[in-house]
Amino acid sequence: METAPKPGKDVPPKKDKLQTKRKKPREWKNPESQRGLSGAQDPFPGPAPVPVEVVQKFCRIDKSRKLPHSKAKTRSRLEVAEAEEEETSIKAARSEQLLAEEPGFLEGEDGEDTAKICQADIVEAVDIASAAKHFDLNLRQFGPYRLNYSRTGRHLAFGGRRGHVAALDWVTKKLMCEINVMEAVRDIRFLHSEALLAVAQNRWLHIYDNQGIELHCIRRCDRVTRLEFLPFHFLLATASETGFLTYLDVSVGKIVAALNARAGRLDVMSQNPYNAVIHLGHSNGTVSLWSPAMKEPLAKILCHRGGVRAVAVDSTGTYMATSGLDHQLKIFDLRGTYQPLSTRTLPHGAGHLAFSQRGLLVAGMGDVVNIWAGQGKASPPSLEQPYLTHRLSGPVHGLQFCPFEDVLGVGHTGGITSMLVPGAGEPNFDGLESNPYRSRKQRQEWEVKALLEKVPAELICLDPRALAEVDVISLEQGKKEQIERLGYDPQAKAPFQPKPKQKGRSSTASLVKRKRKVMDEEHRDKVRQSLQQQHHKEAKAKPTGARPSALDRFVR
């Protein structure tokens, strides 16, 4: 019964997969309204379709949990919330389609190992602009270097063991400052912007600006070995030789918390970018997870038989890579189980580890860096085959992937090396959040906004989503107090009262009978539920593992 399309009109628009119900009829009713000035019709009317999987990525409501029966009013609120979620996630998914940039990659020909490709080959193959990103700084004089990229990935700061501190715009190679602090430099880190620089020196922690002028000397943080900056909380976490983990709020200059790890000298530290938890590696093979709100570690994980040499957490907060004195490199799942997903023994053990934005893992072993890649963005790096390897002129002392660039910065005894690692960086940057091309004015604006949105330090916890949950303990306490205050439970279910009926049916006996009926029904429900629970338990307890064998009966 199909009619031929009219000459002036096009075929009716394809139904969008995820369009809201309201939009459909409007489209069908008056296609005239979609006509442009010239009378031409949009061949793809309506918003672009978005794949369901992408939308699913942005959905946050956990629908697996079944809610207790809710009243109509509550239900309407829930429906509104769900509709809102769907709408926002569709919008987010649609905006993701606008991210046109694609990550780089390196693919070997049939049977070719990408690890055999050396930097020179890559530099030859890429365009001039990218080739310029591979460089070596020969700084043999001032010892092994630690380095740090700013959050936008535009600036690079490095500090040599023998006091050499420098910061530069590494893309244009414009030097911002270069000083010698005449003291051992343990670690160096940019604060929230490239204008401030924290340097862990032999005794105290110093803060310099981008011209090399010393702004602060923080004496409460002494003998600092490692620095980490939590950008959303404006916290500088310092791990010291004395075994203290100190959180310094750089926006107000206050020390938020000084936690004693009780595990001797701390020199292995990394942050979990997902929940801002600090991971400390200890000499007894454990990794402890810290938050400034708690005096004790949130969790302790036994990772290695020997001491832990390096820890790194990937950008999604899902995987943690650790390497220990037992020459092993392990990747742990941080989503509740804390079990190793894969393990490899390295010939020399990795002294430094780092994750890139897209989940590449780099390990520095002696004077060699090995890079492993995973299947996709959300998968752990597979340790089967290295993705790239590179040999440096000296032992590695610091590693970091440059954000939003396919570049790996390596600090070693011979200076600084900037390596090209295709597929390391996130290709699309958020211009409002961390814009590599921002001007001074934009930076200042961003600074104000970021300060306004500063997250309080006490909100750091293992599962940040838990903050969106109701505090059940307080809730129940409040309920109990209310019952005590009133003398009765205002929310208790009223006992069943049979309605009086006419024509002689509301005799006392029948009333009692009806009451009994309801009571029995409730009782039955209860029994049913308990039975179900039992079943669940049994099903869970049943060993799902080995195939039951006839010989099992002889097992003692």
Partner: protein, 769 residues
């Protein structure tokens, strides 16, 4: 007949009358003035009786039949005929002058007495009720408006909206003139090409094409559509009718016919269009897959179950079940397209398995949550392949399996195992030497050797402790060929260094007990380290007669295993250069020993720490015993066990710890009070359970997580007011009602009937009360 009856009745009547007359006579004798009328009255009565005979309304006059003592001239007896008002009026002779009076009387009689007026309170109550109902009705029309406003996402005040005057572009353009020379030139061009300028919708050509469909054509099309619609409805009706037919036989016949037809068509299709036929086949295949997935025709459905019960007694039910089963079989049967493809499939599978190392498979499985059935089937093939590839590996594996099993069950075999280990170590040593030689060559082999170098050296060191150097050299020559084969095998096959192994073995039982206390027995859901599964799989296959217990013990998550699992060493192209030291071996040796022994302490310490943490987090029991109460007290005397038991208040057991099944983790169970201060602690109104409320706040509303549009929408204010504008109360016209609230009252007055009837009812009710 009728005449007889008539006569009888007459007779009876006359007798009755005589009887009835008796008292009357008696009465009359007293009142003599009426005596002369007597005969006349009797006559009258007789006449009446006769006249009433034919009619149905035979009236019995109540007449006194017995004598009464009460009758006197001063007293009126209550019995007897009642005196009615009309009787008094009735004259001897009928006169017309009394008619008006009569009418009046009847009117008076028809009127009932006026009831007592209700008392004031009740009247007021009724009035109130009525007034309430009225106003409630008037106001109820606002209910939807109020509800809408309450549920609205946003309210904008003041309510009246000014329609933005958007002039259509044509109008704007019509008032516009080309002034600059460029514009004029452009317009000239447009005019030349007959492009629309002022009313810029369509060119003449386009207009013509739009008008192309004539009226007749349109009519024809309409008729066609109508016909099609009618046909459709007919078909639908027919289908519905046929569907309703209950006869099974009929349906069977229809089904069979359909099947036949389909087959025929398919045959034809195959001849005419093989591609389409193939598609059809694919469809069948798809149906099969669906069936396999859903198992719809298995005996698991509700209907099937009920039939299964019936099948014992009912032949029909049995047949139905069989039919269903056959259908299932038919649907799930795989179509045999070609035998070659199957072979190919098998071939590719093999190839795949060869290509993909089993380690990869295992990792995946671990990530998904291990499925033991899958595991077995997956690895069994590779196992066989492995056995075929290098039979030399077998003893090594065997030895490995035993050493892993960490049990002392087979002390007899231990010697044998040790021997094998030594052998293997020797071979490794040899290999490492070879590889060291080959290192400068810098080929594929070097990267292997680099990684294995360390391991082999470890072995060498351990060997030194145990064995002499002589035998090694003897064997070296014999096993010179092995390394190449072994190098191809991934590292899992490599033996664990003896040094690392030794101290554990002594400790395992102890550790096991400790673990048992922690109740961290086999939890299969946890991802296990990669190689463990593989090893456990390998052992039973190689040693079919190995006892089962071994496997069982391996299934447990063991902290020892977690940390000491052998991991394949990484093959790296670049090997870090090491400063060549003469006593490198010696140094390595020392370091290795240190590391190995340090590890044991690590585990024990950790377990101890964990136990302490668990103890600390457990709720404490309260002991209320008073020493010396009710019994002797003093130094060295303890209250009796009975007393202690009596006064010990056991704390309720808390929820299970999060790290209960994770031996290598201590998770702090303390509440983060700083974070809790920021959490919601009171459930807002319409929600009854905190899960409901949580669901409404799970979506973040910040701009960090949302697009700008979504963020703006999520954060729009609930009420928007225009500054400087008066917000008037809502009017009926605003919401779409015709008239104002005043006219609403008039609406009610217009149909007062309903109200009045209601009113009446109310009144009645009150009066009854």
């Amino acid at each position: 007949m009728t005449a007889n009856r008539l006569a009888e009745s007459l007779l009876a009547l006359s007798q009755q009358e005589e009887l009835a007359d008796l008292p009357k006579d008696y009465l009359l004798s007293e009142s003599e003035d009426e005596g002369d009328n007597d005969g006349e009255r009797k006559h009258q009565k007789l006449l009446e009786a006769i006249s009433s005979l034919d009619g149905k309304n035979r009236r019995k006059l109540a007449e006194r039949s017995e004598a009464s003592l009460k009758v006197s001239e001063f007293n009126v007896s209550s019995e007897g005929e009642k005196l009615v008002l009309a009787d008094l009026l009735e004259p001897v002779k009928t006169s017309s002058s009394l008619a008006t009076v009569k009418k009046q009387l009847s009117r008076v009689k028809s009127k009932k007495t006026v009831e007592l007026p209700l008392n004031k309170e009740e009247i007021e109550r009724i009035h109130r009720e009525v007034a309430f109902n009225k106003t409630a009705q008037v106001l109820s029309k606002w209910d939807p408006v109020v509800l809408k406003n309450r549920q609205a996402e946003q309210l904008v005040f003041p309510l009246e909206k000014e329609e933005p005057a958007i002039a259509p572009i044509e109008h704007v353009l019509s008032g516009w003139k080309a002034r600059t020379p460029l514009e004029q030139e452009i317009f000239n061009l447009l005019h030349k090409n007959k492009q629309p300028v002022t009313d810029p919708l369509l060119t003449p050509v386009e207009k013509a094409s739009l008008r192309a469909m004539s009226l007749e054509e349109a009519k024809m099309r309409r008729a066609e559509l109508q016909r099609a619609r009618a046909l459709q409805s007919y078909y639908e009706a027919k289908a519905r009718r046929e569907k309703k037919i209950k006869s099974k036989k009929y349906h069977k016949v229809v089904k069979k016919g359909k099947a036949k037809k389909a087959l025929k068509e398919f045959e034809q299709l195959r001849k005419v269009n093989p591609a389409a036929a193939l598609e059809e086949l694919e469809k069948i295949e798809k149906a099969r897959m669906m069936e396999r997935m859903s198992l719809k025709h298995q005996n698991s459905g509700k209907w099937a179950k009920s039939k299964a019960i019936m099948a014992k007694y009912d032949l029909e039910a049995r047949q139905a079940m069989q039919e269903q089963l056959s259908k299932n079989k038919e649907l799930t049967q795989k179509l045999q397209v070609a035998s070659e493809s199957e072979e190919e499939e098998g071939g590719t599978e093999d190839v795949e398995e060869l290509l993909v190392p089993d380690v990869v498979n295992e990792v995946q499985m671990n990530a998904d949550g291990p499925n033991p059935w899958m595991l077995r089937s997956c690895t069994s093939d590779t196992k066989e392949a492995a056995t075929q590839e290098d039979p030399e590996q077998l003893p090594e594996l065997e030895a490995h399996g035993v050493s892993e099993s960490e049990g002392e069950e087979r002390p007899v075999a231990e010697e044998e195992i040790l021997l094998r280990e030594f052998e293997e170590r020797r071979s490794l040593r040899k290999r490492s030497e070879l590889s060291q030689d080959a290192e400068p060559a810098g080929s594929q082999e070097t990267k292997d050797s680099g990684s294995q170098e360390v391991l082999s050296e470890l072995r060498v060191l351990s060997q030194k402790l145990k064995e002499n150097h002589q035998s090694r050299k003897q064997k070296a020559s014999s096993e010179g060929t092995i390394p190449q084969v072994q190098r191809e095998e991934p590292a899992p096959e490599e033996e664990e260094p003896l040094l690392l192994q030794r101290p554990e073995r002594v400790q395992t039982l102890e550790e096991l007990e400790e673990l048992g206390k922690e109740e961290c027995f086999q939890n299969k859901e946890l991802p296990r380290p990669v190689l463990e599964g593989q090893q456990s799989e390998r052992t039973p296959n190689n040693r079919p007669d190995a006892p089962k217990e071994k496997k069982k013990k391996e299934q447990m998550i063991d902290l020892q295993n977690l940390l000491t699992t052998q991991s394949p060493s990484v093959k790296s192209l670049a090997v870090p250069t090491i400063e060549e030291l003469e006593d490198e071996e010696e140094r390595n040796h020392r370091q290795m020993i240190k590391e190995a022994f340090a590890g044991d302490d690590v585990i024990r310490d950790f377990l101890k720490e964990k136990r302490e943490a668990v103890e600390a987090s457990k709720p404490k029991d309260v002991d209320l015993t008073l020493p010396g109460w009710g019994e002797w007290g003093g130094v060295g005397l303890k209250p009796s066990a009975k007393k202690r038991r009596r006064f010990l208040i056991k704390a309720p057991e808390g929820p299970p710890r999060k790290d209960k099944n994770l031996p290598n983790v201590i998770i702090n169970e303390k509440r983060n009070i700083h974070a809790a201060a920021h959490q919601v602690r009171v459930l807002p109104y319409p929600f009854t359970h905190h899960w409901q409320f949580e669901r409404t706040i799970q979506t973040p509303i910040g701009s960090t997580w949302n697009t700008q549009r979504a963020f703006q929408k999520l954060t729009t204010p609930k009420v928007v007011t225009k500054p400087g504008h008066i917000i008037n109360p809502i009017k009926a016209e605003d919401v779409g009602y015709r008239s104002s609230s005043r006219s609403d009252l008039s609406v009610i007055q217009r149909n007062p009937k309903r109200i009045t009837t209601r009113h009446k009812k109310q009144l009645k009710k009150c009066s009854v009360d």
